[in-house]
Symmetry: C2
Subunit: 238 residues, 2 copies
């Protein structure tokens, strides 16, 4: 049997180079969209519609959806919640449908729309995600949302964690330098992700927003063992 | 005095995100274009014209230029030389003008055309390059040529080496995750670059071409203490 491949794409604007149509794309936006999405499903949310623009979110209010979203890290005015995972917990989301739009994460989901399948990755669902990916029959592409199409460290570390778990199986080809680099960086960082990211650009950007607690939460593995998957444009729990 | 910044761009197709017009762009294609260019100037070449296409190179033959170039690692038919640095040595290049076109490196030079200044980087000229960059008055952007717009490890390691040398000065802001990642990877790899790249994708691609000797040469620092700089579309020695 031919080994499957696992690759990493560092920017949504480069995804066309990776021929996503035949691959399972793992969309990653650790700080904070995909962490918040995993949190919502772990807390009983029914569905989440990722929309690219604020205007596209507004009509969902009439359908009794919650509206969630941020731009440049700040909650959109009049929306029910921003992008903090702590807003996606408990009774606030249980049984609810949510429309979400964010600076990077939901843009990445849209960039991946040609994919064979789209799943959502974060540190919060790392182990169940890796287990799920092992048992699929297609090549894997981790898509880092980055920051406005630039590389970022936190998404790369999660991509590296996924690569590392699949690499250990000896059933995957890793002939992709960005996957190798991600794995190297993850192995450097894994014993203290929070300290490793201390000087990263997005961490500094978010420090100004006073969300250290969000960051610590988003870097804690395996607290939300759910796999959000996109079906007909809507994220649901697998 | 405001500190200068040093950033790293992992793909020529992302350079527009980095506002190159006010920056000194260091174009990097370790295997092998920028290594060959440094070699040529260290061996007395007069000038090198980087051209994007094979067709653009051909008219230079009538002007007594040497034609150099490869596609997918293989020398272009009827050209004087391919992309091996060993072709750019000695009497073959001394005093000569050269037109060169390569899969990645010359494309990256063209992608950087809006830059305030373009210089050529490789391990072969690392220390003189870093010294020169320290004494400029503009922000620095290292542009990795990559492989067909994808990230590659060897260019990233050189970018990381440049970042590391500038970082040590305490006069540079490093608020760019790709610069931080490059530096981490360089520090992991620096004691044995050759071994670190053993499994990289481009290394594997080039192994098929039987150019291990080229790779070892391209990873040896400071054998060619020259700084090629682009002036009016032509590379000359600074």
């Amino acid at each position: 049997m031919v080994n499957r491949s696992v690759e990493v794409c560092f920017s949504p604007s480069l995804i066309h180079l990776f021929e996503p149509a035949h691959k399972i794309v793992v969309v990653i936006d650790v700080l904070r969209a995909t962490s918040s999405i995993c949190t919502a499903f772990a807390h009983g949310a029914n569905s989440i519609v990722p929309v690219a623009n604020i205007e596209d979110a507004l009509p969902y209010r009439d359908k009794n959806y919650l509206l969630a979203g941020e731009r440049n890290g700040v909650k959109i005015e009049d929306f029910d919640m921003g992008n903090s995972p702590f807003s996606f917990m408990g009774d606030a989301v249980k049984g609810r449908n949510i429309a979400i739009t964010t600076t990077n994460g939901t843009q990445a989901i849209h960039a991946a729309k040609e994919a064979k399948k789209i799943v959502i990755g974060s540190f919060l669902n790392l182990d169940v995600l890796a287990d799920c990916l092992m048992n699929q029959d297609a090549d894997i592409l981790c898509l880092c949302s980055g920051w406005k199409n630039k590389f970022n460290l936190e998404d790369t570390l999660l991509a590296g964690a996924v690569v590392n778990k699949l690499h250990a199986l000896n059933k995957f080809n890793i002939d992709c330098d960005s996957a190798l680099a991600s794995e190297h960086l993850y192995l450097l960082a894994k014993d203290n992700l929070f300290a490793f990211l201390e000087n990263s650009s997005h961490r500094n950007r978010l420090k100004r927003l006073n969300i250290e607690k969000d960051i610590a939460y988003c870097l804690t593995p395996n607290t939300c063992p759910v796999i959000p998957v996109l079906e007909n444009g809507v994220l649901v729990k697998l």
